[in-house]
């Protein structure tokens, strides 16, 4: 089984991705591996715009038919937008986890925190090992 691991972003050990899109703003979502492990996603709970989280904080929950999984903040920051599409069509996360299935947009309080995250190669290796 091979999962997509785009090289244009960073990854957490807990299967989230973060991609800087503009200045100090970044999108956050879960990986192809994560959506595959969860399988059919039926519910995504996201924070309010304006909430702030530190790296590692739980900012939301994703639930599949089988289980609920916490969403962990890859880096500290304030939520500036959430993907409201996921409210009625959470299955987008299964179909397109890296683009249409993004979850929150954050203003990073310290972009250098991203240096501590996994790059695509390291994350791809982790997926192989976990499988």
């Amino acid at each position: 089984m091979a999962w997509q691991v785009p090289e244009d972003r960073k990854y957490t050990k807990t299967d989230e991705w973060i991609k800087v899109v503009e200045g100090d703003e970044a999108l956050v979502g879960i990986t192809d591996y994560a959506q595959d492990q969860l399988s059919d996603i039926v519910y995504v709970e996201l924070p309010e715009v304006g909430e702030s989280f530190s790296a590692g904080d739980v900012f939301g929950v994703v639930e599949s038919v089988k289980a609920a999984a916490d969403l962990n903040m890859p880096a500290s920051g304030e939520v500036v937008a959430v993907n409201t599409e996921l409210e009625d069509t959470p299955e987008i996360v299964n179909e397109d986890p890296f683009e249409k299935g993004w979850m929150i947009r954050v203003r990073l309080s310290d972009p250098s925190e991203l240096d501590a995250l996994l790059d695509a190669a390291a994350y791809a290796k982790q997926c192989e090992e976990h499988d």
Partner: protein, 364 residues
Amino acid sequence: MELKRTNLYDTHVKLGARMVPFAGWEMPVQYTSPLEEHATVRSAAGLFDIDHMGQVIVEGPDALDFLQYMVTSDPSTLAEWEASYSLLCYADGGTVDDIFIYRLPEYFYVVVNAANLAKDVKWLRAHTPGFDVTVTDVSEETYMLAFQGPKAQEVLQSICDVDLSNVPFHASARGRVAGVECLIGNTGYTGEYGYELFFDASQAETVWNAILEAGEPHGVKPIGLAARDSLRFEPCLPLYGHELNADISPLEAGLGFAVRTNKGDFIGRDALLKQRLEGPPRKLVCLEMVDRGVPREHYEVIVDGQKGVVTSGMFAPTVESYAAMALIPRELAEIGKEVEVVIRGKPRKARIVKRPFYIPAYRR
């Protein structure tokens, strides 16, 4: 404990199944997607490896008297080849297991939950003194498959030498499926019409492959445990360890139809009769979320300031709602009442709705 594998383990892996531990077994939880598999059973038919389930033969001159004393239903009402849902209870009315009893010409054939097999056999044997009866666990040599859905009869008929139109709901027959001698029960656990097959464990692959092959043009697919759970959840069929356990009586779980307190003495009768007359302390209700959120097992339910608990909860795929079964104080169990389910520390609104979420095909 080492996990057991069914004779179809390699077949499942080849089909791309994801294998998970369940009740001491390594079982397929999904082949493609639980939602797709769920829809397949509701609209066409699906094949389930449920060999983890246990089978016990109760035979001897006192077999009927013995079962009458052990179970809550009345097996004397079963004609030969008929089958019915039943329960084993403790003296206090708590549940040992929920079971299916087939009355066959030679003996009673009892199907039990995988996780409870050893406990059930021990419980049954502990009560045989005084009865001329033997209790034999035949689970090891018996294979069990379920084939469920609106297309199940047509597909099975094409590879079976019994006229299935002569086997009504909750009846059974012996015959050959793909040349393999089977006990065929018109029974199941999905809310659809379908069959459960029992046969020699060495023939598992033959029967499995024959059904998938015959079913292919009809859209028949293998189905994993995740869909098995959502399929049984929608029609509110109880799952032991969730809606039933040693602390939950069948009357609390809404299974009064299988409790015959007027049939004579049986283990648990006094306690169950008292509950029937006075009302059981709790009642299993159906909830649908009003606020957003997925209710899950063990979540707290608040009803008029009193507490209850979710026994099973999920996104119910056919009815497309976030739904739960929950045990709450009986006197508060009113259809339409608003309650709260505590989801990750936050109370979320839900409503008590009519049971079940999905009306089984055989009750329409």
